[in-house]
């Protein structure tokens, strides 16, 4: 129960950070477990991100290991013109955070 409260608090803290538009938590196959993007208009984006980003994280993780077996990937950040996507993978879960792009 304690761990659960900590998880909730962390998720809340992340989603309330300035600039954060929301997050998506999926399993490694991209099945969405939880997301703050619950609006119907956001469904297409959520599906697309959940479809592509876990695979990208897995590839990046393998690449890091290929380059150095003693190293381990922590996260991937994609900066686009419009936003920033942060992807983190751990113990079967993939966490994707969408942030509005920071100008400058």
């Amino acid at each position: 129960v304690m761990a659960s409260i900590q998880v909730e608090d962390t998720l809340k803290r992340i989603s309330q950070q300035k600039g954060v538009e929301g997050y998506i938590i999926s399993d490694e196959s991209g099945n969405v477990l939880r997301t703050t993007f619950t609006d119907e208009s956001e469904k297409e984006m959520v599906d697309k991100l959940a479809q592509d980003l876990p695979a990208l994280a897995t590839r990046a993780s393998s690449a890091v290991r290929d380059l150095d077996p003693t190293n381990q990937m922590r996260f991937v950040r994609l900066q686009t013109r419009k936003k920033e996507l942060m992807i983190s993978k751990d113990t079967g879960f993939v966490m994707m955070v969408v942030q509005g792009s920071v100008q400058g």
Binding site: L49, R59, D66, L67, R74, V76, L78, Q79
Partner: protein, 103 residues
């Protein structure tokens, strides 16, 4: 021509002199290394892996929104951070030591 080559060298030198930078490489769209401060072995190890990753990342972004595009990619691991700056025809890849303590 000569002027832009000098610029490239200048830029690579400047990046390379940053504290913590392990190496820098430039690859073309096929992942063929054009310039690198890493050893030949390290260069080849990184070139195609990172090129493919960046291509996949870029595809995801443009497929999601055709008006958007990938500007930068960071792969952070325990030991390193790989920075990737895509351009129309090239990729600039920089490998630096991960900061020992996250701020």
């Amino acid at each position: 021509p000569a002027a832009s080559m000098a610029n490239v060298e200048e830029t690579l030198k400047r990046i390379g002199s940053h504290k913590g930078v392990i190496g820098t490489l430039i690859v073309d769209s096929q992942g063929i290394p054009l310039r690198s401060t890493l050893s030949e072995e390290e260069t080849h190890a990184h070139a195609s892996l990172i090129t493919q990753l960046a291509a996949k990342a870029r595809r995801t972004v443009t497929e999601l929104d055709k008006d958007d595009d990938l500007c930068f990619m960071r792969i952070r691991s325990v030991k390193h951070e790989i920075l990737v700056a895509p351009d129309k025809d090239y990729l600039l890849i920089c490998i630096q030591r991960a900061p020992s303590q996250a701020a």
